[in-house]
Amino acid sequence: MSDLTILGIESSCDDTGAAIVRGTAGNARVLSNIVMGQAELHAAFGGVVPEIAARAHAEKVDLAVKQALSEAMVSLSEVDAIAVTAGPGLIGGVLSGVMCAKGIAAALGKPLVGVNHLAGHALTPRLTDGLTYPYMMLLVSGGHCQFLIVRGPDEFIRVGGTIDDAPGEAFDKVARLLALPQPGGPSVEARARDGDPKRFRFPRPLLDREGCDMSYSGLKTAVLRARDEVMTDNTLTAQDQADLCAGFQEAVTAVLAEKTRRALRVYMELNPSQPMIAVAGGVAANQAIRAALTTVAEEAGAGFTAPPLKLCTDNGAMIAYAGLERFALGETDDMTLQARPRWPLDKKSAPMIGSGKKGAKA
């Protein structure tokens, strides 16, 4: 099969991404990967504000594309297809990416490929490490937390996941509660190094339940309560701050490690020829969590890999690559491609979040 050159566009949360990926399914390389963040725009609000994000994407997507092309030294005429995140995510941002991609595809008469953002994350280990199907995927970020068995570019089995918040969101919230800067992951991890993880005993939600589902919303509340107990006149000592961080991080790590152990058990029953677990998402950057998961993988007899952080957090390269896998199978979309706020990867398993009339979120 000859090399394909794919432009990928990502705009589903607070990062505007565009990238050029070239190669074949299972053997591709990143020629450029531009990510324009918006952290400073949302800083005052303590979280991503959808309308602010949408406004930024609308004026950045084409600029990111231009930069990705020039850095890769690729002209649009050399691009075989335009891949774009079509959901799930904040719909205003997704729409900007989808419309820009449609404009480019229509103008050039090139194929358009809509990509599920989660598939982008889940297929990244194929791009970075050339993993063979089926492999186990833990997707753990600010917006998502799920175990997926990846059997093909469009075949995912969700083994479990969070029933409420994602761990990354909990890290952000804990950082806010403890006067640490956003994003919370790195700042909580750094403070946790100076803390005693045994001083505060936080709950391990759903650990006593069977299966691989998780919950993180109660853990945030537990940290809030513990903080309020040791706080006097709205002041907290640096040691309290560090101990709270350490206790919280240990609880998250313990839950993720145990649930990963169970998920791997399900996966190993498939007798994969080259058993591997890959972890993607911003939370995968946490060294304590990574160390625990590496141990769990070893015990289960599976290899462990985590793509480099730049390809773990939201980016256009993963969308380009997932688009490449779809396009290589002859799958494309037309100009009526819809932007979707909700779009579960595993269409068969029962929805976990947002199972209301609008359907499953992820």
Partner: protein, 194 residues
């Protein structure tokens, strides 16, 4: 002969118009409350086909930047920016206010409906010279005009884009006239003692 394509989704419609030189050769508009993101490109392709202009022959793109529905404006602006990048031609952002005032006798004020009984307003040859949003209702003696039907709006956006294209240096950007709804984080974090 210069081909100019313009489109607008700033309100409950999807509209596109094509000029050859300064002659209108095709214009289409459809009323729709939602689904503009799915309909816009096919509608553009239909207008281009009707006018006999392949997309690659376009010279200028005009796009409605509002004010109006935030999501709708972004749909058109994002598409225009993508097309302009791929075709290597200018895209010109034109406000509904400018398009409405085109050829109108001065002084005149343009009102575009805004949410919760408010209006987006701009005066031409009178105040307010800079567009703003305010409570609705008419006041003052200067005549007030409202935007034309969507197909004509698209045509006027095309005409203005055609004249501005040689001087345009900035990519089109939405004209919001209203800050994003967002409240700063509550609950001040604790003070950390060493």
């Amino acid at each position: 002969m210069v081909w100019t394509l313009a489109f607008d989704t700033s309100a409950a419609h999807c509209a596109a118009a094509l000029l050859r030189g300064d002659q209108l050769v095709a214009a289409r508009a459809e009323d729709m409350g939602r689904g503009q993101a799915e309909r816009l490109m096919p509608l553009i392709q239909e207008v281009l086909a009707e006018g006999g202009c392949p997309m690659s022959d376009l010279d200028v793109i005009g796009v409605g930047v509002g004010p109006g529905n935030f999501t709708g404006i972004r749909i058109s602006v994002s598409a225009a920016r993508g097309m302009a990048l791929a075709l290597g031609i200018p895209a010109v952002g034109v406000s509904t206010l400018d398009a409405t005032a085109l050829d109108a006798e001065r002084p005149v004020r343009v009102h575009v409906p805004a949410p919760r009984d408010q209006v987006y307003e701009q005066g031409f040859g009178c105040e307010p010279a800079v567009p703003l949003m305010r409570a609705g209702g008419t006041d003052g003696d200067t005549p007030v005009i409202l935007p034309p039907a969507p197909a004509e709006l698209a045509e006027r956006i095309a005409r203005i884009a055609l004249t501005r294209a040689p001087f345009e240096t900035e990519a089109p950007a939405p004209l919001y006239l209203r800050a994003a709804d967002a409240a700063p984080a509550k609950d001040a974090p604790p003070v950390i003692l060493p």
